[in-house]
Amino acid sequence: MDALLRQFFNVDIMVQAVPLILRGLGMTLLVCAAVVPLGLAGGLMVALAGRAHSRGVRVLVAFLIDIFRAIPPLVLLIFVHAGLPFAGLRLSPFASVCIAFFLNNSAYYGEIYRAGLDSVGAGQREAARSTGLTAWQAMAYVVIPQAVRNVLPDLVSNTVEVVKLTSLASVVALPEMLYSADMVRSLTYNSSPIVLAGLVYLVLLWPVVRLVSRMEHRLGG
């Protein structure tokens, strides 16, 4: 028991790790601030493109969504970070993370928006159009707001996943929270810094998880 505490909840080591982990937290938040809006915007574009008139565009979008949902995000990230340099494209870890997660998250957010757009009855768009709104105005002011409201729990839940996903950036040496924590772990041979980082994630995300869980318990309602 004592050994467990020393290995996982060593307060002395945790205190030493705090400055580095806080700096890592700053980078984690910065990555989130880039990746979440990128994914939300990309997803909306994907969902709208999935409703294009041209059949070719629709098939292409469905194909791309399936591809990016099938490839693990870590694979995509390592491909962008370690593969593209061979093609002469060398990106910073931050840029690699943004691009890889933009592709992955757009597919996931896109599927959620698609469900949302499907859930708004065609009558809404027709009524909006008949009042003289253009197709884009009807989309932006009538359909999308209702669509987003209908899938809000899924959007929030996916955003939790995106925040958790940013921890993968540690693999390409972006000094975010997990990377910083793992650095202290490798110096001290003690897991407490990673436990501390885990606790920070828990504090950040637990309220959101609770919220999502409350919303989800109305499954199929």
């Binding site: 693990p72 593969g83 061979f86 993968l168 041979y189 003690n190 869980s213 318990h217």
Partner: protein, 227 residues
């Protein structure tokens, strides 16, 4: 060299494809093996936890809730690193694939428990009352009346979650599990060429595109209809 040849030489170099195909295939075997074991263990444990929770005893519900919430709020890679680097120092030696299996199974169990529980809750109370009033015991009601209806509701969200968590087998590369990504990055560092990474990505597509498409089919087939 023109652009097309350069592209092919970088991502699809024939002799490298031939040289590293066996490695990638063995990585696929490892990925499939771990994924199957994770799905079986995770869904079984998740269902068991949801059934225990349906007894509505505060005594067991609080630990289940804490477990589920922690699992949902923690990045999988954090848990993998804690278990992999922490346990040996307290005298528990687990091989890296066992660590990966354990962590992913627990994560899937947590999400599956939430989904099954939401499914059980969404079966109308009248179903319980009607079943019990015909003389079925609590367990009979649960297994013959409630679960068959609840499970149908859970198929779409559970499929999506299961796909997401099995894709996390790629995290095994960080702790040296010889799965697809690990084989691909090792080969890449020997070959100094992106072809093995492309092969790895294609291997994931071969494995998971059918699953994603099947998931989409299940989603429409089992569209949420209130039981």
């Amino acid at each position: 060299m023109d652009r097309a040849t350069l592209f092919l030489e970088t991502f699809f170099k024939p002799e490298l494809i031939v040289r590293y195909l066996p490695d990638i295939l063995s990585g696929m075997a490892v990925t499939i093996e771990i994924a199957v074991l994770v799905v079986v263990a995770g869904i079984a444990l998740g269902l068991a936890l949801a059934l225990v929770r349906s007894l509505r005893s505060r005594f067991v519900n609080v630990p289940i809730l804490v477990f589920v919430d922690v699992a949902r709020a923690m990045p999988p890679l954090v848990l993998v690193l804690i278990v992999y680097f922490g346990l040996p120092n307290v005298g528990i030696l687990l091989p890296s694939y066992a660590v990966l299996w354990l962590v992913l199974s627990l994560l899937l169990a947590a999400f599956a428990e939430e989904i099954f529980w939401a499914g059980i809750l969404s079966v109308r109370q009248g179903q319980w009352e009607a079943a019990r009033s015909t003389g079925l015991t609590y367990a009979q009601t649960l297994f013959h009346v409630i679960l068959p209806q609840a499970v149908r509701l859970t198929v779409p969200p559970l499929t999506n979650r299961t796909i997401a968590i099995t894709k996390n087998t790629a995290l095994g590369t960080v702790i040296g599990v010889p799965e697809i990504l690990n084989q691909a990055t090792t080969a890449e560092s020997f070959a100094l060429n992106a072809t093995p990474l492309m092969m790895g990505a294609i291997a994931y597509l071969v494995l998971f595109v059918p699953v994603v498409i099947a998931g989409r089919y299940l989603e429409t087939r089992f569209a949420w209809r209130r039981a």
